[in-house]
């Protein structure tokens, strides 16, 4: 019994040492069932939100989301920098420090883009929006890889 308690404590401690808070640095962070782009998306996490990392496997991090989901995220979608979530009515007097990203939605933002667009009649975002909306589905990519005789391990590096 005593030994079990010690073992559990040791395990907790090991877990606590490994766990780290990271933040999502893409618009919609995708949490997958496996450390691969072939893994199903089991949860999504918005920009700036924190996740706890549990384990690393190559470029993939196993994470626990604030909502309790556990799955894998590619490390390029995560940062150790802080992205302060915007809270209505608060004024962040200190500003961003060296290891901190600016507040989500501030700085160069949709407002600045609109203001830039107003000043430049020749700039048209129609095709930018159109290309940004064009995506290949996971099924299309899998079929493309298979029929083209490509390697199956995208994101393994």
């Amino acid at each position: 019994m005593k030994r079990n308690v010690a073992l559990i404590c040791a395990l907790c401690l090991a877990g606590a040492v490994r766990a780290e808070t990271m933040r999502v640095q893409v618009q919609t962070g995708q949490v997958r069932s496996a450390p691969s782009f072939l893994g199903q998306v089991v949860a999504t996490v918005p920009y700036g939100q924190a996740v706890q990392t549990l384990e690393a496997q190559g470029a993939w991090q196993q994470v626990r989301t604030a909502g309790g989901s556990v799955g894998w995220m590619h490390s390029s979608a995560l940062t150790t920098k802080r992205i302060a979530a915007q809270t209505a009515g608060t004024t962040a007097s200190a500003g961003a420090t060296g290891d901190e990203l600016a507040l989500a939605g501030k700085g160069f933002s949709a407002d600045v883009e609109a203001s830039f667009k107003n000043a430049h009649a020749e700039i048209d975002f129609t095709w930018v929006n159109r290309m940004a909306a064009q995506n290949a589905s996971p099924a299309q990519i899998q079929a493309f890889v298979r029929t083209g005789g490509l390697k199956q391990n995208g994101g393994a590096q």
Binding site: A96, F116, R130, M131, T147, G149, G154
Partner: protein, 303 residues
């Protein structure tokens, strides 16, 4: 403790911390001034602002800012070049490009990788920050296989992965842009702040587009993008020699054409030499026929 003592104490603290950087000194310095009632809180903030923005680099631009910069860079390029409105070709490019991105060192960006063909004979391509990639019809015509087109897209993904566009923003501009971004964090940009942010934004877009469209990146950044392309191609199972095949066709097509890559990129010969040193012997195994078939089908009628 008198105001004067506080001020002296804070000043001494600042000096004691001197080796850790001027940012710390400036912050303590403004605390001192504030405590002494010499400057207002806002002025102190403004001093801290300038101090912490100094010495920042393109790496301090957040993924979200990179995304907005990239959108306006792409929109600016599209004010000069018309899109090639062929749904099947653009969809093929999207599937190929988004597949390749998964094999890069940076498969995920804020808004993801997206691809569009430009309606021009000119041999050219643009990688806007964050992953909006524009490739000319003239450059696509330099490709005789899917592997060669993959090489073109992988080179552009290499520019995005290594944030080459953001590096073109002039240092002074970056400092003022990051100052506004970092400090106005707590409140919505309004009036004068919005105008100031827009000016910094405008300048950043101009720095990037003029580099991409007129002067070109340095040879070392182009070599970095070619090295990333080789890595992506090998990881994905494409033949990296296809990059050399494409550059060989490009060399013939660029002869006497000062536009696009003729102006902004190192000569195809230089690039071939650099790429050859990175790759092993050509594989004896031919690509599956289905790969060449779909390439032919997507490019049918592209002149």
């Amino acid at each position: 403790m008198s105001v004067r003592t506080v001020s002296l104490f804070a000043g001494a603290l600042g000096l004691a911390l001197l080796p850790t950087g001027c940012e710390t000194v400036a912050q303590y310095g403004s605390m001192a001034g504030q405590a002494a009632g010499v400057i207002t809180y806002d002025q102190a903030q403004s001093i801290n602002r300038v101090a912490s923005a100094t010495g920042k680099t393109f790496q301090d631009i957040t993924p979200e800012q990179e995304y907005y910069i990239g959108r306006s860079v792409a929109a600016t390029v599209l004010a000069t070049y018309r899109p090639y409105d062929r749904a099947a070709l653009n969809q093929y490019l999207t599937v190929l490009g988004q597949t390749l991105a998964q094999y890069s060192d940076r498969p995920e960006t804020f808004g993801g990788y997206h691809f569009l063909v430009l309606e021009t004979d000119e041999v050219n391509a643009f990688a806007a920050p964050g992953g909006l990639i524009l490739v000319s019809r003239g450059l696509i015509r330099c490709c005789r296989s899917e592997d060669a087109l993959a090489a073109v897209l992988a080179h552009e993904i290499g520019h995005v992965q290594n944030q080459h566009g953001l590096r073109a923003i002039k240092k002074g501009r970056l400092t003022s842009a990051l100052t506004i971004m970092a400090v106005e964090a707590g409140k919505s940009l309004g009036g004068a702040d919005l105008a100031e942010a827009t000016r910094a934004f405008e300048g950043s877009i101009a720095d990037i587009t003029s580099t991409m469209m007129n002067s070109g990146y340095s040879r070392s950044l182009e070599n970095e993008a070619d090295a990333a392309a080789v890595q992506i191609l090998v990881r994905a199972g494409y033949d990296p020699h296809a990059l050399i095949d494409m550059l060989t066709v490009m060399k013939a097509r660029l002869a006497g054409d000062p536009r696009g890559f003729g102006r902004t990129h190192p000569s195809p010969d230089d690039r071939i030499q650099h790429v050859s040193a990175l790759i092993g012997p050509r594989s004896a195994v031919p690509p599956p026929p289905a790969r060449q078939q779909r390439f032919g089908a997507a490019l049918a009628g592209v002149r």
